[in-house]
Amino acid sequence: MMAEEKPLGRPLGRSMGEQAAAPIWMVLLSFAALLVAWQLGATLWPTRSFPPPLLVWQTFLGEMASGDLPYHLAITLWRVAASFLLAMIIGAAIGIFLGMHRRADQFFNPWLILFLNIPALVIIVLAYIWFGLNEAAAIGAVALNKIPNVAVTMREGARALDPRYAEMASVYRFGGFDRFRHILMPQLQPYIAAASRSGISLIWKIVLVVELMGRSNGVGFQINLFFQLFDVAAILAYTLAFVAVMLSIELMVVQPLERTSTRWRRRAA
């Protein structure tokens, strides 16, 4: 090989939001500091509506032992998963279609802007009124809230598709599956990752509202119950338990997946 050969430029930008992760001890230290501040605040200002960390922990253990928390957590998790999948598939299909068809995009863009700006609450209320207080309405309403965001992100992805790869695939007669798996998906991967990231955090917040308004189980329902009882420790126990679950999904599923699918990118020089 000749030494003067120049390296090729990176064909795609880094995936969105990618940055050097903080070392693990920094994360732990940061959480510990938050815990200390919380304990300090609760000690200086002792009131039933601001319980110290230990009490929240005990409540958590109690709810775990009774089986309530795992049950409601699982229900909420299933709703998050169902509406997430629904929103990603429908939103991606719409976004890719609009990104590839300029005319359709021009026509439907106002609709997209309209749906982007309808408050989540309105969609939930209407879904319950029109389709009844049932599971399908709940999940549908959450998905509907997220679909426009996914569509907008995936539309950007479809617009950024490099036609040269499609042409290469057509000259070399790639089959439909190969085109999808080796041409389309890798190019859309950063956009899918961005849409899922923002999607999952938005969705679980909306799921709580949906549960609070029209379901008789789930974390949102429980929080409403504890709100009426003014039981802040239980509210915090449920919230933190759910956040912990979402965080571990992010750390144990999303990030490893992303690392695997972006391992071809050149390491930062």
Partner: protein
């Protein structure tokens, strides 16, 4: 197995483009090709030689089936089911697949497990199989693109200035590599170039195009075998080519 079984007529490459134009954004039509007729005999290497911007790449895109909006007809070897080995101006490798995966993905179904050892060895790529294209230099990426085009055992090989923007020494090295792999299994080949020396070194036939709208000015057949094209033979060829098609070389 394929091209070799067919009679000469079936394995030649024929181009008859009456007219090809592009519309600009303002609605103006620009004729790119007009009355363009040429052919490449079976298993011969031909170069399209012409000024830059005359529509050479457009001809290749038509032959690759990427542009169907033209008047006329083209006939590739092994019609109507030609297997095309294409080398684009850019290597056009999938950055998210390794060198070997890039080549294997292009292989037709029944050859997916073909042995690539010999090809990769000749091209000096055997130790780079598991590298990603982003980790290769432009010269190496071009070699992979050439390997991909030849690995499919094409009925026709189409190359669009595959050695452009490489330094001369490296380009020359790649030309030699291309020739040695191509000679292992000759196919009908058409390469676009604006480098006369390159055309003289590689081709059996040079098809000379006019400026836009491009038509064939003339065909320059080279009968000297490639091995015998030394410095002097190439000089002679260059001189007679210039006498026929261009102004005499400055200073001669």
């Amino acid at each position: 197995m394929n091209a070799h079984q067919h009679a000469g007529a079936a394995a030649r490459l024929e181009v008859h483009v009456e007219q090809k134009s592009f519309s600009s954004a303002t609605g103006e039509r620009i004729d790119v090709l007009r009355d363009l007729h040429f052919d490449v005999p079976e298993n011969r290497f031909a170069c399209i030689f012409g000024p830059s911007g005359c529509g050479k790449t457009t001809i290749l895109r038509i032959l690759m089936g990427l542009d169907g909006d033209y008047g006329g007809s083209v006939r590739l070897p092994n019609w109507p089911d030609p297997r095309v080995g294409a080398v684009f101006q850019e290597p056009t490798l999938l950055p998210w697949r390794s060198v070997e995966q890039n080549i294997r993905l292009a292989l037709p179904g029944h050859r997916k497990d073909a042995n690539l050892d010999l090809l990769l060895e000749i091209l000096g790529l055997d130790h780079l199989r598991s590298f990603y294209p982003g980790e290769l230099s432009l010269g190496l990426a071009r070699r992979v693109a050439i390997a991909r085009a030849l690995a499919i055992e094409p009925d026709v090989l189409l190359l669009d200035e595959p050695f452009v923007s490489l330094d001369q020494a490296l380009a020359q090295q790649l030309r030699n590599l291309l020739l040695s792999v191509w000679s292992e299994r000759p196919t009908t080949a058409l390469m676009v170039t604006h480098d006369l020396d390159e055309a003289i070194m590689l081709s059996d036939r040079i098809i000379v195009l006019s400026p836009r709208p491009a038509k064939v000015v003339g065909v320059f057949d080279i009968t000297v075998p490639r091995r015998e094209r030394d410095e002097k033979a190439r000089d002679d060829l260059r001189r007679s080519f210039r006498k026929q098609f261009l102004a005499p070389e400055p200073g001669s």
